[in-house]
Structures are given as structure tokens and as C-alpha cells.
Symmetry: C2
Subunit: 192 residues, 2 copies
DNA sequence: TTCTTCAATTGACAATTGTCACAAAATTTA
DNA sequence: TAAATTTTGTGACAATTGTCAATTGAAGAA
């Protein structure tokens, strides 16, 4: 059960976790393999779970006039979900797709609620994970408000270099809101 | 105590509030008047409180190379804070300034923690307020990722028309990330 | 390996937006 | 009220970015 141990280690970074609280949750975890290109969540489907990524990489995107707009890259040893769907209990407007062969541990909204009732630790975990997502969105909004494409790309380079290494240019371009061509030119400019 | 009753009504929309839980909190509330142009939070200062705006309007901005960048407008009958500072307990990187003469009710981080320990209702309130902030940031990131200045402005017009009525053009321009001149031209274009 | 397919780059040109300068309008102050 | 200050609007031009088309490069399949 290496996946679940890793999940536990991840949670321990967020809040120091007593054995009992984690033990309560073990029967609720579900380990899944998601092949490259496959979907964890699709539009119209309720996202009733939070997902710990043990291995792999995902992107979140939505369709705007038929064009895919990337809004997030989620790498291993972190948590992903379609939070808007999860929080509001409404169908997702976005897709979560594996960019690499991945292994995840998921915990359903229903089971998380049960855990929160049984143990205050899980209530705190939920609070802290929500805060983490808040901070992530704050950073994303900040970087999107940078004026030039160059600045946006440099921000990624500084703060999320792993993303640039593992994700294709076209997806990064969509993420920072410029055309692939523009991003390509920025990169060649930076190389000099 | 009209301000505090209004705050209670606001919280009731978020979670139905028993009299006891709210009663616990009453001694912790602090009512303040903030004059137009004055600051609720400034850079470098820890933002150790959440603030219910009973009357008035605020903007949140940060300085980028000496230029003010607006990131949020907070109107009456809602809650504001420098959440990044509040969550991480670090000095704020942003300013919260009153755009109109305002009256607020504030609750310190310290007292909120006390309330959370005394009553699970307040723990839930904190969770729900954090989720609300998450959804707001999600929407902001979405609107910032729209390509053209026209689209960004139309998004505001559709979803936050009150902002456009109450906030000056220069501040809105900074918020959506275009120059005042461009926004001015967009407006004259829409008038036709 | 070679072929096939998809991703990334580059050029040319058009569209959008920013910058600067100044005029007009609105708001504040005396 | 008039004067001063701030905000908004507009023209001219430069810089940035998008779009389309063609080329180059890289990764996977036979």
C-alpha cells in the first residue's frame, strides 16, 4: 500500500496526523490507475471526490467556444479535484485529464463528511486543503494579471519550473493565455 | 446595534445560525468607521481579522513597480480580508482602501479561533467563508483568462454590474488589466 | 532503420492594445 | 460661485500579440 502511505505523508505536511484519525479513513480510500489521455472528471459529471496524485500529472481545462483552455496542472504528491463542483455539489464545467500514466488515491465527498463527523482532525484537514486551494488560485490570478506574455512565462519559470519541464508548450500557452506561436517566440528570445 | 444584526443576517445566508453561537461572538465584534481613502490594511501589516462591510465599498490592490494593481472590489453586505496574510499569518502584501465612507464589523483571527473551539458552528462558518473566497478567486482567474479587453469588461458588466456603477474607470481598468485609455475606448464602442 | 504523425518553430501581415500628448468633463476646494 | 484638481475621452503612433501558412523537428509505429 505504498500509495496510501504517501498520501499519509502528504497529509502530515499539512497537519500532524495521529494514527487513529488516519486509520479511520483507510477503508474509504480508493486506489486507481489512470492512463495517459484518460479522464478523471469530465464536463457535466459531479466531482464528488478529492484525489491525491501518487504518480503522474494532470491538467484541468474547460471548453470555451470549442477551444480547450487549461486552468491548472496538478502534479504528483499533491491533491486535485474540480473544486467548484465539489464545493457546490454541482456538475463540473471542467475536465481533468491525465497527461502521464498516473496512479491516484481518491476519497469521496460522502466519506470525507463521515470522517469530519468522527474526527476533528479531518475537519481541520478539509479547512487546510481549502485554504491551500485558495492560495493557489490567488497566485494564478496574480500571474494572469501580469501584462506581457513574457512576464507570465517568466513567472512560471521561476515558481513552477517542473511544469515547464513536463508539460507541452501548447498546453502551457493555453494556461498563460497566449497563442502557441507567441510562446514559441518568447522561448527563443529567452534562449539568447 | 444595526451593524451587528446585519452581520448576523449575512452569516445566516451562509449557515443557519443558532442564537447561542452568535451570542458567543457578540463581545468579540468591533465596529469601525473607515473614511473614504483611508486604509483597512496596508502593506507590511499583518491582517489578523475578517471584516464584514456593513456600509461602503473597498478596493484591494498591491504595488507592482510602484503602480497600483487592483485585485478585488468588496462591497457592503459582504466580507473582506487580506486572506493570504490571514491564512498564512504573514504581513500583507496588499492594501485595502475605502472607496466610500464605510462602516465595518471586524472579528480578529484570535477571537475567531476561540469561537471555533467553543462552537462547531463557527468552525463551519470559517470553512464556508474560505470556500466562498475560493469560488471568488476561481471566477477572477477565469475572467482574467479571457483574451480581449472587451470580453473582460463584458464579463464584469454581466456578473458585477454594481462594481461598474460604483467604481471609477481607472480602477476598473487596473482590475481587468488594461490601460484606462483602452477601457475608455471599449466603453464608447459599447455605447453605440 | 524509415515512414508517419504530431508538436514546435518561423515568417508575413493584421488586429489589438499600450503609450504619450492633449482636450473635455466632472469633481473637489476655496 | 469660480478656480483648481482629478478623471475621462480621443488622436497618433509604436509595441505586442494573434492568425495563417509553411517549414523544421521530434516521437512513435511498422
Amino acid at each position: 500500500m505504498g500509495e496510501i502511505d504517501n498520501f499519509r505523508n502528504y497529509l502530515n505536511q499539512v497537519i500532524s496526523m495521529d494514527g487513529h484519525s488516519f486509520g479511520l479513513a483507510k477503508p474509504y480510500f480508493q486506489v486507481e490507475k489512470i492512463g495517459k489521455g484518460d479522464y478523471l472528471v469530465t464536463e457535466g459529471q459531479k466531482c464528488n471526490k478529492i484525489v491525491y496524485i501518487n504518480k503522474g500529472l494532470f491538467r484541468i481545462f474547460y471548453l470555451k467556444d470549442g477551444v480547450e483552455i487549461n486552468t491548472c496542472f496538478c502534479k504528483d504528491k499533491s491533491i486535485t479535484s474540480s473544486f467548484k463542483s465539489f464545493i457546490n455539489q454541482v456538475p463540473s464545467t471542467e475536465y481533468i485529464q491525465a497527461l502521464e500514466n498516473s496512479v491516484v488515491v481518491s476519497l469521496s465527498s460522502e466519506n470525507l463528511s463521515k470522517l469530519q463527523n468522527e474526527s476533528p482532525t479531518w475537519q481541520t484537514i478539509r479547512q487546510l486543503l481549502t485554504e491551500k486551494e485558495c492560495l493557489r488560485l490567488y497566485d494564478r490570478a496574480t500571474s494572469l494579471s501580469f501584462e506581457s506574455a513574457l512576464e507570465k512565462y517568466k513567472y512560471l519559470l521561476n515558481y513552477h519550473p517542473e511544469i515547464i519541464q513536463r508539460v507541452s508548450i501548447q498546453h502551457i500557452a493555453s494556461y498563460i493565455g497566449v497563442s502557441r506561436e507567441t510562446l514559441s517566440r518568447i522561448r527563443s528570445q529567452i534562449r539568447d
